[in-house]
Amino acid sequence: MTVLQIAALAAVAIGGTAVVVAPNPLKQTLVLSVYGMSLTALFFVFQAPDVALSEIVISTVGLPVMILLALRKVRQNERQGEREEEQ
């Protein structure tokens, strides 16, 4: 195992833990995309560039966008609910 591979494995272990302990969903999403980048590095140093290419776009663009939009919708609904309660 090369130094790069050990470093990538360590980054994934730390990143995965960081995603779990992130305080709220919004921050969790941002940590998740950084974690995705460490996964990309892992796939790359373990000689799976095809997987790395998919992972980098999915984890840094695709997944965070969908989670952020869903969070936004949830907040909209909550705010609407509050407004209706006030009336």
């Binding site: 095809d50 290419l53 663009v61 695709g62 939009l69």
Partner: protein
């Protein structure tokens, strides 16, 4: 259940899991020790039999192309599900909430983010097309390139223009890309059935390894999948964006 009981349960389950995990890991082959036969066979015959230099793509779109057909339709069907669940109800009308959709799509679209997104758009599109058409030559292929292509119009949205994104990638184009790509990949397989007698058997000239038009059906299959994947992701993104940014007003209000 009390906190104490839960901790005891976790302790028991965790200890059991740990024992099984250690036993399992102890039986693993040494790092880098590969005993598989399939990989070595593909590595041996990939370039001579299929003239493809990226054997992962050769596997996906040729040796086990039928699996990929199923995988492709998994994506197609899940996007179909998203569209179905988030569809506009009868009587509802789209009313872009002025503050959100018109110019400034979301709070915090700073000048730096907009400028960076504008720089990224052509780069993403060029990289996406490159990855799709070079699927048989270098790492990548239809799926990877398709996702990169879908990120291009998304960068238009990041630049703060939701309605502009609708202009560069109208819903009908996204849906057509999704559908034509999905059908196109199945048609490549059908071509094999018609011209070579077996579903997904290569029926195109193989060419010279390393050339853009080589490896028989691989470039064609790669382009079809690229179209399908980019279309599918854009349809899903659009549906999610519509949910978050467009206020629906039905007959019953709200």
């Amino acid at each position: 259940m009390s906190r104490r009981a839960r901790l005891v349960m976790f302790g028991l389950a965790g200890a059991g899991f740990g024992v099984v995990l250690v036993l399992g890991l102890a039986g693993l082959p040494a790092f880098g020790d590969y005993k598989g036969v399939y990989g070595n066979v593909i590595n041996g015959i990939g370039v001579t039999e299929r003239r493809a230099t990226d054997l992962v793509t050769a596997l996906n779109f040729d040796f086990r192309a039928f699996d990929t057909l199923g995988e492709e339709f998994i994506l197609f069907t899940s996007v179909l599900g998203v569209v179905l669940i988030l569809r506009q109800m009868r009587g509802e009308q789209d009313r872009p909430s002025q503050r959100e959709a018109e110019e400034h799509s979301f709070a915090g679209a700073s000048a730096a983010l907009r400028a960076l997104s504008l720089v990224l758009i052509p780069m993403l599109l060029a990289l996406g097309v490159y990855v799709v058409v070079h699927g048989a030559l270098t790492p990548g292929g239809g799926f990877q390139g398709g996702v990169i292509l879908a990120a291009g119009p998304l960068a238009v949205f990041l630049a703060g223009r939701y309605l502009r994104m609708k202009t560069v990638a109208p819903t009908i184009v996204e849906e057509l890309g999704d559908a034509i790509g999905a059908a196109g990949y199945a048609l490549v397989g059908l071509g094999g059935l018609v011209f070579a007698g077996v579903f997904f058997k290569n029926f195109l000239p193989l060419g010279i390894p390393g050339h853009l038009l080589s490896a028989g059906q691989l470039p064609l299959a790669s382009i079809a999948v690229g179209l399908e994947v980019s279309g599918a992701f854009l349809v899903a993104f659009s549906e999610f964006l519509d949910q978050a940014l467009v206020v629906r007003s039905g007959p019953g209000g709200g």
